[in-house]
């Protein structure tokens, strides 16, 4: 009996936060189903959610790694646009889109590494410093692009288009890649030295350092990963819409952050859940569309997004204080 108890309590300790966000998701589904049953059984509503989800997943899941390491990054919303800009500009200038993709992702990684190094080496507040970078990079894009968008219809004829964002018998390929990304990140976070070290560092960086973990390197890599995720998200979106526009990504800033916390990753570091974050993304994405579907005006969206964040925080509290 007692063995069983310890199994249950350990299981809850490991998975409680993810279960919480799954619970919220199910609750939300039930509310929408009751609120607008006809709209809810129509497949096109869910299709539009599934088109939105991959981008949000590429942004949110790497943020789980970073928040678990005890840091935060706001600049990802601009990194998203910088990578997309590099991609679109190079494609427009006749460079092979596959090479542009690689260079775009490399740009995201480099920005992440720079932001991380700046924050870690100079011991800056990651919240304030990345807020600065958010504006700075956005300014750079607006200046470089002269606030003009770039249309890249030509990607459609290249093999990466159907492979990455095409339709495979009606199934959007970006969902497939997002799913691969989630599986990869699940193992990376829970079963790989990188993820385990991130959890130790975010839990107690002094202990981690004493045990020989290079705390600064771990944090910089987490920032790089956020840069890579943002770049993938930005480039995918640019390919889907055939357009880079200089303000792109800004709208995802608060949504991705909300998805991290609604998804059950606490803000204090040391813990995180990939599965929870996927449902967090689901909650945020359905919120954006579901409110309209049940016939309420779009103004309610922000109200409910706010409400859900507060409920998620209360959920963290119910699951227990941070243990020290």
């Amino acid at each position: 009996m007692s063995n069983n108890n310890s199994f249950l309590s350990n299981y809850f300790h490991r998975n409680g936060r993810a279960l919480g966000s799954i619970g919220y998701f199910v609750l939300l589904m039930v509310i929408f189903l009751i609120g607008a049953p006809e709209a809810w059984i129509r497949p096109n509503l869910h299709q539009s959610v599934f088109v939105m989800m991959p981008t949000l997943i590429f942004l949110t899941i790497p943020l789980v790694f970073l928040v678990a390491s005890g840091e935060i990054d706001l600049s990802f919303a601009s990194t998203y646009a910088v990578a997309a800009y590099v991609f679109a500009l190079l494609v427009k200038n006749g460079v092979d889109p596959a090479i542009c993709l690689v260079l775009g992702i490399f740009t995201g990684a480099a920005i992440g590494a720079l932001v991380g190094t700046l924050i870690v080496v100079f011991r800056l507040s990651s919240l304030v410093a990345s807020l600065g970078v958010l504006f700075l990079l956005r300014g750079v894009i607006l200046l470089l692009s002269n606030s003009r968008s770039i249309t890249i219809m030509e990607v459609e004829n290249h093999w990466i288009y159907p492979l990455l964002v095409g339709n495979f018998y009606g199934f959007p390929m970006q969902i497939f890649w997002a799913a691969i990304f989630v599986i990869f990140c699940y193992y990376f976070f829970n079963k790989h030295v990188f993820g385990i070290h991130i959890q130790h560092v975010g839990d107690n960086s002094v202990s981690a350092e004493q045990m020989g973990i290079n705390v600064n390197a771990v944090k910089i890599k987490a920032f790089m990963f956020v840069g890579i995720g943002s770049a993938i998200g930005g480039i995918f979106t640019t390919m889907i819409t055939y357009t880079f526009f200089p303000t792109q990504g800004f709208g995802y800033l608060l949504l991705a952050l909300a998805a991290v916390f609604v998804g059950g990753t606490p803000y204090w570091g040391g813990l995180g859940t990939i599965i929870g974050a996927v449902f967090g993304v689901g909650i945020i994405a359905y919120m954006e569309i579901g409110i309209i579907a049940i016939g309420w005006s779009g103004e309610w969206r922000q109200f409910f997004n706010g409400l859900i964040i507060l409920l998620a925080l209360l959920g963290h509290r119910l699951h227990g204080e941070r243990v020290r």
């Binding site: 309590s9 385990i196 107690n204 202990s207 004493q210 045990m211 020989g212 040391g270 243990v323 020290r324």
Partner: protein
């Protein structure tokens, strides 16, 4: 006897303060060295320099007679030095198994972790160090454990890694008599297997009981070293400590 580690004239400064001044110390194979000194004597700085958390500003560190460069915590652990820090160096939200293997995870190629093997070893270790509660297993979070149990996890880490030298920083602080005895048993076992221990303590009686040799530290300097054979009671050790520190003033 082989020197496991040797500090040779090591100096460490923090800003304008010299926390360690030309300190020299060696630990040979199979001995238990007791490091004693008042609060602020520099015991903690000496230990953290020895195990690579701090890097020395001057002086050399020698491992088995060979000088090492760019000394850090990872190198210390790879050289067979394990430390049970005063604060235990645990991450309380993580499981016991993750804590035992922190920084030295059992890995497959490409950095994936041998989770099952780690859990098996951790369960074996926590039984070995005497965890009897059925509510605790390798996957329980460290945050739910008592002070003595947390100390047990930190010691289990040192046991698993079969260190040549185990550094115990104030290991009996805040422990019950029973738990203190367990720490002593552990030290004796290490010694029996011809490995070494550096034992740091406030409590002279604890240090006296367990050590073969004593090193007295005062204001960052090693002021006296003596063997247990030279004295016969802890009171005598205390008197020598008072006299040397007094003379040093």
């Amino acid at each position: 006897m082989e020197n496991i580690i040797e500090l040779d004239n090591v100096t460490k400064r923090f800003g304008g303060i010299t926390a360690l001044n030309k300190a020299s110390l060696k630990v040979t194979r199979g001995e238990v060295v007791g490091l004693i000194g008042d609060n602020g004597a520099g015991k903690s700085t000496l230990i953290k320099t020895l195990v690579g958390v701090y890097s020395p500003d001057e002086g050399d560190i020698l491992i088995r007679g060979k000088k090492v460069n760019a000394w850090n915590a990872l190198k210390a652990r790879e050289s067979g030095i394990e430390t049970v820090f005063q604060d235990r160096a645990l991450t309380p939200q993580q499981s016991i198994v993750k804590n035992i293997f922190m920084g030295k995870e059992l890995r497959y190629p490409f950095g994936f972790i041998k989770e099952k093997e780690q859990i098996f070893e951790a369960n074996r270790l926590i039984r070995e160090i005497g965890f009897t509660s059925k509510l605790i297993n390798a996957e329980s979070p460290v945050g739910n454990l008592s002070g003595g149990e947390r100390q047990g996890v930190a010691i289990a880490r040192a046991i698993y890694n079969k260190a040549e030298l185990i550094v115990l920083d104030e290991p009996t602080n805040n422990l019950s008599l029973n738990e203190t005895q367990k720490v002593f048993d552990f030290v004796l076992n290490v010694k029996k297997s011809n490995r070494s221990v550096l034992f740091i303590g406030h409590n002279i009686y604890h240090v006296y009981d367990i050590s073969d040799r004593f090193v007295i530290l005062d204001r960052g300097e090693v002021v006296h070293q003596l063997n247990k054979n030279d004295i016969s009671t802890p009171e005598e050790l205390m008197k020598i400590m008072r006299d040397t520190i007094g003379a040093h003033l």
